[in-house]
């Protein structure tokens, strides 16, 4: 008896879903190829996938009328140059993976990784904290090549406000140069998704700014400030090279996921150096277990692709 009831419920569900699918897709399919095209451009996070985001998308699109501008790639390209084109309203629930200087790497519900621009960190940090692993709802904009966050709602309800409803950055007090600033930051490569093969070592000439427990803060020859973290503190401190502010150093390392991974640091004046990673980029402080064990199913977190 209840077996039949269950089957009936299941069948009804599927039938209803088919009907809804037909209704949902019939008019839109004929009226506009456009939304469909956009949906494929943003494969995993269309606004309407998330209830609240869908509404936001509707409002913002209404005010801006940007729906129409998405039509041609050329137009879009051109608009990207213009200052306040942040694109379509967009919203998603994401998990924070890593925080950069002006943005964050996140993963969508289905695991797709994304980079979302947040603007200068001092601005949002005044409003609250973000940590890797946080599950947050991002309302913002997508212009075809970059995601900008307008507001971030954390699981506990805290709201970080970054841009206005029209996409103007709140931190600059206006729309004037926001676009330029972000793109500039991006170009520096400091936060871009750099996937480095370990053979892509780079050498930096730099000056030590500060020495701390975790490593050094340096200023590189081209004026960039980097905070280097050297992994296990006792490991590098045991190598007994004294660094002091003002020391000229040569650093070898590589960029990985937007972080500079230090392999070795040489003090120019004395030639002393500390070794942190082997030529494959693997940390030397990992101990003998790392080389010996092939890990079995425990697996290494970073896929060993090389």
């Amino acid at each position: 008896m209840w077996k039949k009831a269950i089957v009936a419920v299941l069948v009804l569900t599927i039938a209803a879903a088919v009907v809804v699918a037909v209704i949902d897709n019939l008019p839109s399919a004929s009226a506009a190829d456009q939304p469909v095209a956009e949906a494929t451009a943003v494969p995993t996070a269309t606004g309407n996938r998330f209830g609240a985001g869908g509404q936001a998308a509707g409002q913002a699109a209404g005010q801006h009328g940007q729906d129409n501008q998405g039509s041609g790639a050329a137009v879009q390209q051109e608009l990207n140059q213009s200052v306040d084109n942040v694109g379509e309203a967009w919203s998603a629930a994401v998990t924070v993976a890593e925080l950069g200087d002006v943005g964050m790497h996140v993963t969508l519900e289905d695991g797709t990784p994304l980079y979302i621009e947040l603007g200068p960190s001092f601005f949002w940090q005044e409003q609250g904290t973000l940590e890797p692993g946080d599950i947050v709802t991002v309302d913002g904009f997508y212009n075809g090549d970059q995601y900008h966050a307008a507001s971030i709602t954390k699981a506990d309800g805290t709201l970080l406000a970054l841009r206005s409803e029209t996409g103007q950055p709140l931190w600059s007090g206006g729309a004037s140069n926001a676009g330029g600033a972000q793109h500039g930051d991006q170009a520096n490569g400091g936060t871009g998704e750099v996937q480095v093969a370990p053979e892509d070592w780079v050498t930096l000439d730099a000056t030590v700014l500060t020495v701390n427990r975790n490593g050094l803060t340096i200023e590189s020859a081209d004026g960039e400030t980097l905070a280097l973290s050297f992994g296990k503190a006792s490991f590098w401190q045991e190598q007994a090279v004294q660094f002091a502010a003002g020391d000229a150093v040569t650093i070898q390392g590589f960029w990985q996921d937007g972080q500079f991974q230090t392999g070795q640091v040489t003090k120019v004046a004395t030639g002393e150096r500390i070794l942190l990673r082997d030529p494959n980029g693997r940390p030397l402080w990992g101990g003998p277990g790392r080389q010996g064990g092939n890990g079995g199913q425990g697996g290494h977190s970073a896929p060993v692709t090389g």
């Binding site: 269950i6 089957v7 419920v9 299941l10 069948v11 569900t13 599927i14 879903a17 809804v20 699918a21 209704i23 949902d24 897709n25 949906a39 269309t46 309407n48 996938r49 998330f50 209830g51 869908g54 998990t95 993976a97 890593e98 925080l99 790497h105 993963t107 519900e109 289905d110 695991g111 797709t112 990784p113 940590e131 890797p132 692993g133 946080d134 599950i135 699981a155 506990d156 996937q195 992994g231 296990k232 006792s234 996921d257 402080w285 990992g286 101990g287 003998p288 277990g289 790392r290 010996g292 064990g293 092939n294 079995g296 199913q297 425990g298 697996g299 290494h300 977190s301 970073a302 896929p303």
Partner: protein, 463 residues
């Protein structure tokens, strides 16, 4: 009159030895042997006589006993590890390094504990399968099956809490990912997660909590339930193996536990201990860089036994992927022995000849259908996009689950009719389909998910 003297025929060492055991050693007849079991604290977990057919190795595969052996190894090595480990974020990782480099046999100790822990998950699961496929859960053993399911969960919980203790990248992020599954539970999920983690994220408080759970609460609970489980096996006796035609493989006579059962157990335990020891000498437990809360590995994966669940989450709305489906599955699993069962199938591997044929079909179906569904969802079917007017919890939760359940019911009906099978045989094939599906999902999650949890083809995995 002379006082009656204690006859002292033996030398002192012999007398000390004799005093250890309450009965005369060695036993000379079956009565002695039975008394030996009854009067011995350890051997007393066995009845004094056992049915001869149950001794065949290919009936139990020694899997329950192996679980016990692994628990013993884990307890022994675990206590030793406690001497070299401090559960604090500052200390834990460097303790691991010190353990591996300066403590005598420290690396071996860690390897033994690590591999035994992982093996226990596998062996417990295999034991469950063995019991299922021989119908060992039949009356009066239903409740022992339920206890078994509870122990399986405890074993996984023990593993999960232990995972964090090395405080390396793998530990930190696997637990972050694993515990975030919990926050998908409506209403209580978030508070529960905060309670378990001692705050909103993995931190020093989490390490304290997990340490307490891992070294005290979970082992004690497991030990308690395991004792009860063994006691029930002793009282309910083991189910008797039968040939596929229903006949007994050999006359159902009883033999004394000493030496028939005990000697087999002893040899098996010795061989397994040797194998585990050898494996642990050769293969080191993984240890990554120290935990870095600011930098997540990509992809951040949960522990391997949760990868089936993580894979499910990629295809279903979190409420369904993390809660509804697993809870349904666990409840169904615990209720298995309360289903009606063919009395004649007890003790027969895979129920009957027909049951065996159906099992093969079900395995093939699982191996084909599961990857097919994963690919379908990954590349072609986007339900939320297809059903934009429905909330995702319906579009990507209830709708696909309903389709799946209908598919399973369809499979059940087709199998039952195609083979003219009994309900019992058909249910077995459904169980196999689901188990194979779960294993395939786990394999996909572990091996075929790369950066950003993107699906990789086998040749990409190998390259």
């Amino acid at each position: 009159m002379t006082a009656e003297l204690d006859p002292r025929p033996e030398a002192l060492p012999q007398r000390v030895w004799d005093s250890v055991q309450r009965d005369q050693l060695p036993p000379v007849d079956d009565r002695d042997r039975m008394r030996l079991v009854m009067n011995n604290l350890v051997l007393h977990i066995h009845p004094s006589k056992v049915s001869k057919p149950t001794l065949r190795f290919t009936y139990t595969w020694g899997l329950g006993g192996l679980s016990l052996l692994l628990i013993a190894i884990l307890a022994g090595t675990g206590v030793l590890l406690m001497f070299a480990y401090t559960p604090s974020p500052d200390q834990a990782y460097s303790d691991m390094l010190a353990l591996q480099s300066t403590v005598w046999y420290g690396q071996l100790l860690r390897n033994l504990h690590h591999w035994s822990g992982n093996l226990l998950v596998v062996v417990t699961f295999l034991h469950l399968l063995r019991v299922f496929f021989t119908g060992g859960f039949r009356t009066p053993r239903e409740f022992n099956w339920v206890l078994g399911v509870a122990m399986l969960l405890l074993v996984v919980a023990a593993n999960f809490t232990g995972y964090l203790l090395p405080w390396d990248q793998l530990a930190y992020w696997a637990v972050t990912v694993g515990s975030s599954l919990m926050s998908y539970v409506p209403l209580v999920g978030e508070p529960l997660r905060n309670f378990l983690l001692g705050g909103p994220e993995v931190s020093g408080a989490t390490l304290t909590n997990f340490y307490g759970l891992h070294v005290a609460i979970i082992p004690l609970t497991l030990l308690g339930i395991a004792s009860f489980h063994i006691w029930r096996v002793r009282k309910d006796t083991l189910s008797i193996p039968h040939n596929v035609d229903g006949s007994l493989p050999e006359p159902n006579t009883k033999v004394t536990t000493v030496p028939h059962l005990v000697s087999r157990e002893f040899v098996f335990a010795l061989v397994m201990t040797g194998l585990i020891l050898m494996w642990s000498v050769w293969v080191n437990a993984p240890l990554e860089e120290a935990a870095n809360p600011d930098h997540s590995p990509n992809p951040a994966k949960a522990a391997w036994y949760f990868m089936g669940l993580q894979e499910l989450l990629l295809h279903f709305h979190p409420t369904f992927g993390a809660i509804v489906i697993p809870v349904l599955a666990l409840v169904a699993l615990a209720l298995i022995p309360y289903q009606r069962f063919d009395l004649s199938a007890e003790g027969i591997w895979f129920r009957s000849r027909r049951g065996r044929q159906m099992a093969v079909v079900a395995v093939i179906a699982g191996l084909v259908l599961t990857p097919a569904l994963v690919l379908l969802d990954e590349y072609w079917l986007d339900l939320p996009e297809l059903l934009p007017s429905l909330p995702t919890i319906i579009a990507n939760g209830w709708v696909p689950l309903a389709a799946l359940l209908l598919g399973l019911l369809g499979f059940y009906e087709i199998m039952r009719r195609a083979f003219r099978a009994t309900a019992c045989e058909t249910r077995q094939s459904l169980f196999i389909l689901l188990v194979v599906g779960f294993v395939v999902l786990t394999v996909i999650g572990v091996a075929f998910r790369g950066e950003g949890m993107a699906l990789m083809w086998p040749w990409e995995v190998l390259s």
